[in-house]
């Protein structure tokens, strides 16, 4: 019994951290009012970048760092164009998603070619010996850090104000653009790290399309926990366990392995529906101006 619990905790640690970071980063960005539909594309790109850098340099920290930087740049770009220009957040996000898919394949394939020719991939394995604990430590530190940032600091108040009502926030002296750039930059940096953890600590293989769809699961994890940094720990854990054991679940009930592939996606929709029909929705309502075009035309003229 004890052994199986231990192997569970070690087994899900990597995917838990990957999901957690991506979901909490997404939540932070949306708290500032920028609708984030680019998450899946940038997550897929982050996975490919982490893989490629790891193959080229054989360095896990460097791979994680570069995935983080590239993702953060996408976050800054999205926050800038959606705040500075009167354009649809949804359209900007979806186009960035496609760009991310395409770039991911182009970045990953040359490295995959090298790998086929014998180069190896630097990975990090959560083992029973000790490394697994750090996956949880990082998740909890980030959880408390982001929670403190959003709920207890001035910057957090500004982020929430920019998400609820950017025009009033601006009138009260908040620089909405700066706040959104900050939230989206940090948020996407976390998504980038999550993607690197996903690739280097969890799947540890890459082929074209690796990571596609998982960004959407992170989206659902964040939404179903009301974008709350502490509650996301719980929903990320549920999805991590499901992801890790889905093929076992399918095999146990004598179902085809494709049922296992499908489970996280069905659960993602179920989680979002549960969030919408239960009182959770009222208690953890999304920011009022999420995805609304905020544009200071009149003031600049």
């Amino acid at each position: 019994m004890f052994e199986s619990i231990a192997s569970f905790i070690v087994g899900v640690s990597a995917i838990f951290l990957a999901y957690y970071l991506a979901a909490v980063g997404h939540g932070l960005m949306e708290k500032s009012g920028v609708l984030n539909l680019a998450i899946d594309g940038v997550f897929t790109l982050g996975v490919a970048i982490a893989f490629a850098v790891s193959v080229y340099t054989f360095s896990v920290p460097l791979a994680t760092f570069i995935a983080m930087i590239v993702a953060a740049l996408f976050g800054l770009m999205l926050a800038f164009i959606t705040t500075k220009l009167p354009i649809s957040h949804g359209a900007a996000g979806l186009s960035t998603m496609f760009l991310g898919y395409g770039l991911a394949a182009l970045v990953g394939l040359p490295a995959r070619q090298l790998q086929i020719n014998g180069r190896s991939l630097a990975t990090i394995q959560p083992s029973l010996g000790g490394t697994w604990i750090w996956f949880y430590v990082v998740a909890f530190v980030v959880a408390i850090g982001i929670w403190y940032l959003v709920e207890k600091t001035k910057i957090g108040a500004a982020i929430r104000a920019a998400g609820e009502n950017p025009a009033s926030a601006e009138a009260l002296g908040v620089n909405v653009l700066a706040v959104r750039l900050f939230a989206s930059g940090v948020g996407y940096a976390l998504i980038g790290i999550g993607a690197a953890v996903f690739e280097l600590a969890y799947t540890q293989v890459w082929s074209q399309g690796a990571g596609m769809g998982y960004g959407w699961i992170a989206f659902a994890i964040s939404l179903s926990a009301g974008r709350h940094p502490i509650l996301i720990l719980i929903s990320a854990m549920i999805f991590a366990a499901l992801d890790k054991y889905r093929f076992l679940i399918a095999a146990t009930y004598n179902l085809p392995p494709d049922v296992g592939k499908m489970l996280p996606f069905v659960a993602a929709i179920a989680a979002m529906i549960i969030f919408m029909v239960t009182p959770l929705k009222r208690k953890l309502a999304p920011p009022k101006s999420l995805g609304k075009i905020y544009f200071r035309e009149e003031r600049t003229v």
């Binding site: 539909l37 594309g41 770039l103 394949a105 699961i217």
Partner: protein, 360 residues
């Protein structure tokens, strides 16, 4: 930077053209930087795409139909990103008719019509499932329709690996090839089929009539501009959301039948690696058309030329990476992404002037 509203908006066709050119330029740069692809080779692949209407025809028909389908829901501000799943469901339904009923041997013509009709029904049902939580719970349709694409893939995967696994497939995991009677006849000199061409014309006229002359069409358009007006005139907004999304899925589903009967003739496992990605590419068509039905075929021709160019580039010049790229999606995705992003940003300048003012 100061942004000022224009007194008179620019003509609507200017933005798609500028966006297209800027997006192609960006794609060429990206392909050069990341793959070392020579710009001349990429551009010549694009020229190839634009100058071979016969080759492009198959993609053109599919993308026009998907563009029309998405237009119906986009007009109502319902962002149906689930075309891919609806097409996959259509593919599944058409395969069932072709392989598991006696219809192809009794009456091939009727079988082909049933393949298309049942594919449409299947696509409509799949869209309806996404429409219900959107209409009654207010759950954003974008993540739901997108996630449902993956579910649709895996449902078909389960069938192909399980009960639908073919008997004459050697060691491949795929269904049997559909009977020759229900392979759609091709229009000579092109890659498109007569079935596809007729379907395209019927759907184009049908949607034109729907949007212009029926109360449903009017209500969908009002849903997009001012749902409160619908509510105050006593028309159920959730019902209109369901109607818009279901019609959209209904039309998109037919592309699944065309893909089966005129292109692949069987489903190969895993279906997500063998899809043509028409559902995603169609989003570009619908947006570039500025939601004008008449502009959909034009946008579809441009996008299908680029689509063909991406695949052509991969076949001819992809070199050592060519064998690793699957389903031609990577380069196409770069094209779609950069053009759409340029379009999204540039749409601003149709109504606003951007002035850069240097502070002294």
């Amino acid at each position: 930077m100061v942004i000022v509203r224009r007194v008179k908006p620019l003509p609507y066709w200017i933005i798609p053209i500028i966006a297209l050119l800027a997006g192609i330029a960006i794609s060429v740069i990206i392909l050069y930087v990341l793959m070392g692809a020579s710009p001349a080779a990429v551009l010549s692949a694009i020229v190839y795409g634009f100058t071979r209407p016969g080759v492009v025809a198959k993609t053109f028909v599919a993308l026009t139909i998907v563009g029309i389908a998405l237009l119906v829901s986009f007009k109502g501000s319902i962002w149906n990103i689930g075309g891919e799943g609806q097409i996959t469901f259509g593919l599944m339904a058409a395969t069932w008719v072709a392989l598991f009923t006696a219809l192809p041997y009794i009456n091939p013509g009727l079988a082909q019509v049933s393949m298309i009709l049942l594919a449409m029904v299947a696509g409509g049902i799949w869209a309806l499932l996404a429409a219900l939580p959107r209409a009654y719970l207010g759950l954003d349709e974008v993540p739901v329709t997108l996630i449902m694409n993956y579910i649709a893939y895996y449902i078909v995967d389960i069938l192909v690996r399980g009960p639908w696994l073919g008997k004459h497939v050697y060691n491949y995991i795929r269904t049997d090839t559909i009977p020759a009677q229900v392979m759609f006849p091709q229009v000579p000199g092109t890659t498109m089929t007569w079935d596809g061409l007729f379907l395209l014309i019927i759907l184009f006229v049908g949607v034109w009539y729907l949007l212009r002359n029926t109360s449903i069409g009017l209500r969908i358009r009002i849903l997009g501009n001012n749902p409160n007006l619908l509510r105050s005139s006593g028309i159920s907004v959730p019902l209109m959301i369901i109607v818009a999304l279901t019609i959209s899925g209904f039309i998109a589903g037919s592309v699944g039948a065309l893909y089966l009967g005129g292109d692949v003739y069987r489903i190969s496992y895993p279906v997500e690696a063998h899809t043509a990605n028409y559902g995603y590419t169609g989003i570009l068509v619908a947006w570039l058309s500025m939601l004008e039905l008449i502009a959909v075929p034009i946008a579809a021709y441009i996008v299908s030329a680029l689509y063909t160019a991406g695949i052509q580039y991969q076949i001819l010049v992809g070199g050592h990476l060519g064998q690793l790229l699957t389903a031609g999606s990577a380069i196409v995705d770069v094209f779609i992404g950069s053009i759409l992003l340029m379009y999204t940003i540039l749409i601003t300048i149709s109504e606003y002037k951007i002035k850069i003012i240097v502070k002294r």
